[in-house]
């Protein structure tokens, strides 16, 4: 399952003592892959820090749910605060890392997720604040859409959720770093070849020649 692979790979980015906010979907799933011995403090933008897993049935608290209104529990040492305090925390640069899904990303660090003109409308919600505020931004998405087209673009075509904000891209095929100049291929998923990445990636990979030489 590409989604599980991506979530598992995100897991490696968690460092001990890190404060992180995980978007809905694959990013949330990555919390299951936080390495043994690594303590991560999860933030929920609706106003909680250090929340834990879902409660058992019958034990849910109507006033404890995450930003997707799914029931959560609070861990010892957790804190609750109003939504302004929560976004002050996010926008103020206090969260070490956020992982967000995307419809597409590009080599300039742009990310699009909130609108497909004429087709789909959702509103940017808290994603923009996370993209502009968090110290490290990871975009997590499948490498290609259902037609096999690259989601890793030279230039996003969809309305942006954030401009020049992405630091790292994790897909089911590869891991990239985003620099001001372009993207750098850092890692291939197991079984993926350099040729495949070249075929499936629209963005310019600035170190692709090094990978080609290594493969030879």
């Amino acid at each position: 399952m590409p989604k599980n692979y991506i979530a598992q790979r995100i897991g490696k980015e968690f460092k001990n003592g890190m404060y992180a906010n995980l978007g809905i979907g694959i990013p949330t799933l990555s919390a299951d892959y936080i390495p043994e011995g690594v303590e991560v403090f999860l933030q929920s933008e609706n106003g909680a820090l250090l929340f834990g897993p879902k409660p058992q049935r019958g034990m849910s608290n109507p006033d404890l749910s995450n930003a997707g209104t799914e029931p959560i529990t609070m861990l010892p040492g957790g804190s609750l605060f109003d939504i302004n305090a929560s976004f002050a925390m996010i926008r103020g640069g206090h969260i070490d890392m956020t992982v967000l899904g995307a419809l597409e990303v590009d080599q300039h660090g742009n990310l699009a997720s909130w609108k497909i003109p004429g087709k789909c409308l959702s509103g940017m919600g808290g994603a923009m604040d996370l993209l502009y505020g968090c110290k490290k931004v990871i975009a997590a998405l499948t490498h290609t859409d259902k037609y096999g087209h690259s989601k890793i673009k030279k230039q996003c075509a969809l309305p942006l959720t954030g401009a020049h904000v992405v630091d790292m891209i994790i897909t089911d095929k590869a891991v990239f770093s985003v620099t001001g100049e372009g993207i750098i291929l850092d890692e291939l998923a197991p079984g993926v070849t350099v040729t495949e990445i070249i075929d499936l990636t629209e963005a310019d990979i600035i170190n692709i020649d090094d990978w080609k030489n290594n493969e030879k």
Partner: protein, 236 residues
């Protein structure tokens, strides 16, 4: 002084065309009974100020007001959870004023705190630039957004005393900030307690902000409602 009234009386303060702020977030920490009263009323053409749409799928909590076509305009940061709302927006039946969530809640805070604007970098280089004014401070660009206020705010808290002091429990969400930014504030609470039962440090919204207290569902009843909703929607 804060008055305790029944939800049926409280809803009469809302008129056709009123601007109404409703606390909470995607169905959580929302004033369920007051929303039901609104949904059962004939009140139309409401300008609704809310962080986002109602519980995912629509038709629950503020989603009822959408189904009933009682909303003329929505000022919010997210509509993606309610397909009915999206279709009414796409069909130009509901006008939308959108801002990023952190900006939205600061706009409400500015409205309540007497500030003239919100100045934030969030959204630079995106369509949000069209929703704000771009200004430059010391060579850095920012977006300037205007404050948001409502005629009536309906918020949800855990407990209240007869001075209108509100205590929150769990996720406070947008309730504390919305209680500061309306001409008239109605608070729906699980429980009414004696003056002094809520300690000074436990007060989340001081009584100065609250005009009316409405008894809502009990905490026990709310637990049953949310547990059932979560089970029915495969979230528990």
């Amino acid at each position: 002084m804060t008055k305790q009234i029944r939800p049926e009386e409280a809803v009469k303060m809302i008129k056709n065309g009123s601007t109404v702020m409703i606390g909470g977030f995607l169905g959580a920490a929302v004033p369920l009974l007051m929303i039901d009263q609104l949904a059962e009323s004939d009140i139309k053409e409401i300008t609704l100020i809310t962080i986002g749409a109602g519980y995912r799928g629509g038709g629950v909590d503020i989603g009822k007001l959408i189904l009933n076509r009682q909303i003329k305009k929505i000022i919010c940061s997210h509509v993606g959870t309610d397909p009915n709302l999206i279709s009414q927006i796409v069909n130009n039946e509901i006008e939308m004023d959108l801002s990023p969530m952190g900006t939205f809640v600061e706009r409400v805070r500015a409205g309540g705190a007497g500030l003239g604007a919100v100045v934030t970098p969030v959204g630079l280089g995106t369509e949000v630039e069209k929703m704000a004014e771009k200004i430059t401070i010391d060579g850095n660009d920012f977006l300037l957004h205007k404050p948001i206020r409502a005629e009536i705010a309906i918020v949800k808290a855990y407990r209240a005393d007869s001075l209108g002091n509100l205590q929150y429990s769990g996720i406070y969400s947008s309730n504390p900030v919305m209680a500061t930014a309306a001409d008239l504030v109605i608070a729906e609470v699980d429980e009414l307690v004696e003056i002094g039962d809520i300690l000074p440090e436990q007060v989340g919204t001081p009584g100065i902000y609250v005009d009316y207290i409405v008894p809502g569902h009990s905490s026990k009843k709310r637990q049953e409602i949310y547990e059932a909703l979560w089970i029915a929607t495969n979230k528990l």
